[in-house]
């Protein structure tokens, strides 16, 4: 965990890259209980107008959170976390899948040793989350 005294507005959190393959989606569907077919059935995904199978928004949200929880050390220190799903993560049926790149920066110092972090998440150079931010307690 970073020392609170070392954290300022503008402090960057280490960027992370997450591969998202069809295998990832199958695991997440099972673990989360979200069995929506657009996350595993290309035929139906295309029938409803999507370019291909897309990742669960909640999977993207969970992976993006890791930039905060790895930085804070203890995930129990996250007090709030919110995102808007601005664009789907399209996951092709190949070994590479999609790539999610997430970075974060401290936007605000709050009372009680807490800070607000703003996250940026992109896949294929396009932002997939908007207004992604978390409040984490460092002190």
């Amino acid at each position: 965990m970073p020392a609170l005294a070392d954290v300022q507005v503008g402090t960057a959190l280490p960027e992370q890259t997450f591969p998202v393959t069809r295998h990832t989606l199958v695991l997440y569907a099972g673990a989360s209980g979200d069995s929506n077919v657009i996350h595993w059935n290309e035929r139906i995904a295309k029938a409803v107008g999507l370019p291909d199978v897309i990742a669960h928004g909640m999977l993207t949200m969970a992976e993006a959170a890791r930039v905060v929880t790895d930085w804070a050390g203890d995930p129990g220190r996250v007090e709030s976390y919110g995102v808007r799903f601005s664009r789907p993560v399209v996951v092709p049926d190949d070994d590479a899948g999609a790539t999610l790149v997430v970075s974060g920066v401290v936007e605000e110092l709050l009372d009680g040793g807490r800070v607000r972090v703003v996250l940026t998440a992109t896949s294929g150079e396009q932002k997939v989350l908007a207004r992604a931010n978390a409040v984490v307690r460092l002190g």
Binding site: L27, M58, L59, R66, T69, D70, G82, R84
Partner: protein
């Protein structure tokens, strides 16, 4: 068909409590590719000051899926066509960390329904409490129903 605005304020308590299981937290952490020992190792979690293994910040989404079939989205009276729905926004207010062994009660309330252009937006609040009735988390879920807004009359 527009969403029935009369449902705003309606509450849907989960029919049973939800017990946070050790293997479920582990498999959820595996699925999101996160090797954090606090999601798996009780001793590591206790060394960090927790009573038991910690659940990831978005873990409570499993409640939404577990009880979705008895909530507003599945209520035939609401008039929602799930095929037209996308997840717009999600927020977790975590009043305390979720731990293995927690027995959680939850109630979903339809907080708001409004037109956003040709679409409709519905906001659901899920209040999660522990076995003692103390608040654990508040989930705010906004879904978007594509093209279902009632036609506008010209002013």
């Amino acid at each position: 068909m527009p969403i029935d605005r009369a449902f705003v304020g309606r509450a849907y308590p989960a029919s049973t409590p939800y017990e946070v299981g050790r293997e479920h937290v582990r498999s959820f952490a595996d699925a999101i590719g996160d090797p954090n020992p606090l999601y798996r190792d009780r001793e590591a979690a206790q060394a960090a000051g927790h009573p038991d293994v910690v659940a990831p910040p978005t873990f409570l989404t499993v409640l939404t899926n577990r009880f979705g079939g008895e909530g507003p989205i599945a209520d035939p009276g609401l008039g929602l066509d799930y095929a037209l729905v996308v997840h717009g926004e999600q927020h977790f207010a975590l009043h305390r960390p979720v731990h293995v062994g927690d027995v959680l009660s939850s109630t979903v309330t339809v907080a708001d329904v409004k037109d956003v252009g040709r679409n409709e937006s519905m906001t659901l609040l899920t209040e999660v409490t522990d076995a003692g009735g103390a608040p654990v988390a508040t989930l705010t879920t906004t879904i978007v129903s594509s093209g279902t807004a009632a036609p506008k009359t010209e002013a």
